[in-house]
Structures are given as structure tokens and as C-alpha cells.
Symmetry: C2
Subunit: 356 residues, 2 copies
């Protein structure tokens, strides 16, 4: 990304763009068409809605957290009628609830949900939701912004029609570049979708990408960065990247459990671990201490969970030693804050996972 | 931009964001509110429309080139009724034509135009257009994507209600960050504008920026880059940046005229110089030769002008020696391609301007 800028109308750009598009498909993996947008992940979420749906359409939003709830806000902005399948924060969505609604109402155009709910650490069962949706005409649209690289989001096997991710998540790049995929059914839907759009109009991307360029200026340094990140991922192997995320998340969970704490999520994913804190521990103080004493940045609780949970990420190009360092810092800091447990148990429990 | 990433939810980010926003206002200059978007300039153009207008509104699009015409496409996407004030490519818009329409039709909500039309090298008279619009209720929305830093776009003095630029233009940054300003009248219009929107909804930016963050993830490396670019601009002084662009564009024009060629624009701006080529010179061959022999990238003609004009930019952090180099390369290449002129005249004419 620090090299000379590739001119986005110059002769080298089409090969760069086409290569990144093809290799990015291996992250999900998907054989669907894939586009890069100059936007955050939220822009790609909106693109999935405005390119497949029309005002007045009915959809199911299946959600249990602040990122899942964003689907409702986007649909509301476009007068799309939402049937909510809500679960408590920290819980997973039961695919049977979605199927029951689809059985009753054949007019539903799409099911919108989230693979990794970053506000709670839950991973939703996209494969199960895909099976629930498969017998119905509804499209399945999945926010994979934080999950891609940590969990398979096998769009073709799961029956996902539109999926998206962002550069600053599993690929470890700076933010500013979003990735979106469209299945053949989603592509067909995009031909009749009547939500107004211009910048996020995927038909413009389809035409321009076929010629190796963007419909407007693309963020070329981030695309060069994605070339390098994809090379790192494919050198390690995407299956190994998934299993590394699984192993690191497991190490953090074992550490947490060993000192008597609980995961907030009923089905914790491999992107991050949300930890429920006892009354005696203030999450904001813990975060500040980790930042000031160790230079470690973790997430706090959003909305009503502020101060009540912490969220420890292992997403991106994280090493075993990074996990050892955060577990050690957490053990020291919680002990310093007065939590009682056998010192060394968190480090030892994490090490058991890391050393296997 | 190559330094450690500033965490966009961390304690350092609000100061970075707020400082960049305040200093970016000095580029126009403007006292209006200013926001940064994770998008190309086109995204900011769309944001100006969807945040100030409603479906069914009538607007004037005053345009004379491919970027000006984009306003029509954006308005069409949102069912906004467009009255076209078109000039031939290479010509400027006469503000009197806009005023005549505004006199006749009090229902017009906005006038949309372009300061620097990059496809032709024309700079439109925004001050004059501002005077034409000033007696009417219509908002004035100006695409300053390529012009900011090369020409003043004094929104408050000219009566511009919404203006925008992109990171990859006068600021010399990579693409991916757009800047947009809203006057008090534009802010009021944004409270009632009914175009559907979510990602580009400026009310979300207004709320989030007040707290020193973005409504969704902002491209933090580009914001760090903008911090550095603004420091460079303000160290030189924005007036000096404008006069440098004027001097460089003048040097290129004098060079062109000295060898018997003409500018394509009737009112050439200081962003780039579009040069009409004689029949004997193929623009695409000239571009290839400059690229291969000198490593110089220039623009060609768009649409019907393909091969018939070249476009030489002096936008961004360009030095006098950069101008000397392109003029020398152009003189050598045109001579090699068979154009007859007194050798040395282009270099000499440019030098007269550069050395004063």
C-alpha cells in the first residue's frame, strides 16, 4: 500500500482488480459474482438491500444484537416491511422460527441476518438458516462483515444469495473497502429491484468490473493491500486460517472459564469472545488498564451492556503469542482488580489449547 | 498512512477527526459544516442530492461534460425532475441562462453544476452562477471534486450550499475519502428531504461527528493521510496553493500555444489543460509514447473526444520541475510524431511563466 499508486485508468489496473476479485472468492468460498465497493461494510449491507428489494417488499430480519438490528434500520429507510425474528442479545437465532414464518407467508422476499454478531460474540447458524430458507423463494442475505476468514461462509453450499465483508476485519487491512457477492438468484432480483440507488447500483459495478475498472474511482491502495492480504491468506491456506481462528478463540474461552468467568454468547464464535463480568469488575476500568499498561485494545459492551462485558478479538493476522499476551495481561489485571482465582490457571488453560 | 492504525473507537480518534474537519474547511474556504465520507467523489455527489431533495422536485443541471452529466443520472435515479442547461463540451455555462429559468419557475429546488469539468478542462464561473441563484430559493450544489485546491470554492462568498471534493485530487492522497459541506440552508433542507438513504444519510454523520466518530467505520488511514496533506497545504498557504496551480496551468497553456496548438476549453481552468490535437496526431499514440518513454501519465479524450484531445493535469503537489519535464517530453514527442514547430519554443514559453 506504500508503493507507487496504481493508476485506476491505467493499463496495470484491470489485472490487479480481476485478480483480487477472483482470489477474494476463495475467502467465503463462493463461486458467485463478487464486487469491491469504496465504502464501509454498512455500505455493502445497504447495497444488498437496494439491489435485490423494492419498497413495499416483506422481509424477515433475524437478529440478536446491534449489528443485526442495523438491517431493520436499512429496510426502514427504503419502506421495506420487516418481520422481526429477535433473540435476546447473546442468544442464537433458531432457524425453525424463520422457517415457520416462511411456511405461513409465501410473499416474503428475503431473510436478512448476521453470521458473527460482533456486539455479543455469537455466531449464528447460517447453514441451518440456509436449510430453513431453501424450500422458499426468499433470498438469504448474510452480513459476513466480521466473520469472513474466521468462519466459512460457503454461500453456494449454505444457499446464501448475498454476502459481504469489509477490508478491516479478517483481512487485517485498514477500513474503506467492502466486498459483496451476488448469487444467480440475487443477480436476477437485481434486474427488477426498484429501490432507488446510484452509487451502490450493482449493475454499474457489473458493467465496469467486466472491463477491469470501477464505475467510479476505486480505493486503489486498499485494493493493492487486499492483493497482499489475499496472498498471505492463501499462503497459509483458507482452511488453516479458519482453524487458527477456531484454536485462538478456544484458547481464550478456556482461559476465561478456568478463572470462573462465563462467555456472554450461548454459541460463541471464532471472531471474538465476549466475557460476562462479575458485579465487582467494571469493564471500562478493565479496558483502560489493559490499554494503558499493556497497549492492548479490546472492545467493551455496547448499549445496555456497557461496562458489563468485554469483547476480546482474535480476528485477522493474530499469532499464538498475541493470544498468550492478552491472556497473561487479562489474568494480571483481573487479579489486580481483586478477582479471586488460582493465578496461572488462565495462562495454563490457554497454553493447553495453543500447544496442541 | 503507514504508521500504526488509529483505532476509530479509541481515545485518539476524536481529536484526529475534529482537527481534519476543521482544517479541511480552509481548503474551500468555508465556514459551513463539513463531513468526511468513506466513498469516492460520486458518493458525495449522491449525498448532496439525497440529503437536500425529494422525489418529484425540479432542479436545474447546468453542465458541459461527462462529470456534469453525472448530475442528471443521479437525479434520474431518485425521480428528480431535471431542467438541463447544457453547453457544448469545452464551453462554459452562461449564468444568465440559469437565471432566466429561475425567473420563470419559482418551484425549482436546486441548481447542480460543476466547478472544474475534468473531461474538457473548463472552469465554470461559480461566482457568477452564485449571483444568478442568489435571488431565488434554489440551493446551489457544486461538484468541486477536482477543483478544490486549484481554484477557490468560497462557498459563503459565492452562495454555494453544498460542495464536495475527493481525497485523490488536490490533496494528492489515494482515493477513498470524500469531503462534503452543507450550508445552513442545505442543513435545513436536509431535515425535510425525502429521498431514501441510509449510508449517505448526513443526519447520521452530523450526530456521530459531534461525538468525534463516524456513523459507520471511517477510512482511518486516509484520514491520517489527510492530516498530513492538510499540514502541507497550510504550510504552503492555501492562497499560494491556488496561485501555484494558476502558474503551472498558465505555463502549460503558453507552451501549447507556442507550438501552434489550441486549448480545448474556452475558459481553461487551473486543474488540467485539455489540448486539441491536429488531425495528424493520434492522441492515444501520444499518450502511450509519453508513458513508455518518460513514465508520464496524462489523460485522453472521453467519449466522442477519444484520441482527439489530451488532458495534462497539474493538480496536487506538483513542482515547477514536474511542469518542465512534461513540457519537454511533450515537445520531444510531438516533434518525433511529425508536428512542425520551432524546437525549444514550448520549453522556453513555459519557462517564462515558471521563472517569474
Amino acid at each position: 500500500m506504500s508503493g507507487p499508486l496504481v493508476y485506476h485508468r491505467g493499463p496495470e489496473f484491470p489485472d490487479l482488480l480481476t485478480g483480487v476479485v477472483e482470489d477474494a472468492k476463495r475467502l467465503f468460498p463462493t463461486q458467485d459474482e463478487l464486487f469491491l465497493l469504496s465504502s464501509s461494510g454498512t455500505g455493502a449491507m445497504e447495497a444488498s438491500v437496494v439491489n435485490t428489494l423494492s419498497p413495499g417488499d416483506r422481509v424477515i430480519v433475524a437478529q440478536a444484537g446491534s449489528f443485526g438490528a442495523r438491517w431493520k434500520d436499512i429496510c426502514a429507510a427504503y419502506d421495506i416491511d420487516v418481520i422481526s425474528v429477535d433473540a435476546e442479545w447473546g442468544q442464537t437465532i433458531d432457524p425453525a422460527r424463520i422457517e415457520a414464518i416462511l411456511q405461513d407467508d409465501a410473499t416474503i422476499s428475503a431473510v436478512l441476518t448476521t453470521q458473527s454478531e460482533t456486539s455479543t460474540g455469537v455466531v449464528h447458524d447460517i447453514e441451518g438458516i440456509g436449510r430453513a430458507v431453501s424450500a422458499h423463494k426468499a433470498l438469504l442475505i448474510v452480513d459476513g462483515v466480521s466473520s469472513v476468514c474466521a468462519h466459512p461462509l460457503d454461500t453456494n453450499a449454505y444457499g446464501v444469495d448475498v454476502a459481504m465483508t469489509g477490508s478491516q476485519k479478517g483481512l487485517g487491512l485498514p477500513p474503506g473497502l467492502a466486498v459483496i457477492t451476488f448469487s444467480e438468484n440475487a443477480r436476477k432480483a437485481s434486474e427488477t429491484a426498484r429501490c432507488p440507488k446510484f452509487y451502490l447500483d450493482i449493475s454499474k459495478y457489473r458493467d465496469a468490473f467486466a472491463k477491469g475498472r470501477g464505475p467510479a474511482t476505486l480505493p486503489v491502495t486498499l485494493i493493492s493491500g487486499m492483493r497482499a492480504a489475499l496472498d498471505l491468506v492463501h499462503e497459509e491456506g483458507i482452511e488453516q486460517v479458519w482453524s487458527r481462528h477456531a484454536r485462538h478463540a478456544q484458547a481464550v474461552r478456556e482461559a476465561i472459564w478456568s478463572i470462573g468467568l462465563e462467555c456472554f454468547a450461548d454459541s460463541p464464535g471464532n471472531v471474538l469472545t465476549a466475557v460476562s463480568l462479575p458485579e465487582s469488575i467494571d469493564g471500562l476500568e478493565l479496558m483502560t488498564k489493559l490499554r494503558q499498561s499493556y497497549g492492548i485494545v479490546i472492545g467493551g459492551g455496547l448499549a445496555h451492556l456497557r461496562g458489563r462485558i468485554i469483547r476480546i478479538s482474535n480476528l485477522g493476522f493474530v499469532t499464538d503469542d498475541d493470544i498468550r499476551f492478552i491472556v497473561k495481561a487479562l489474568e494480571e489485571t483481573l487479579s489486580w482488580m481483586g478477582l479471586k482465582f488460582d493465578r496461572g490457571s488462565a495462562i495454563g488453560s490457554a497454553e493447553k489449547v495453543l500447544s496442541t
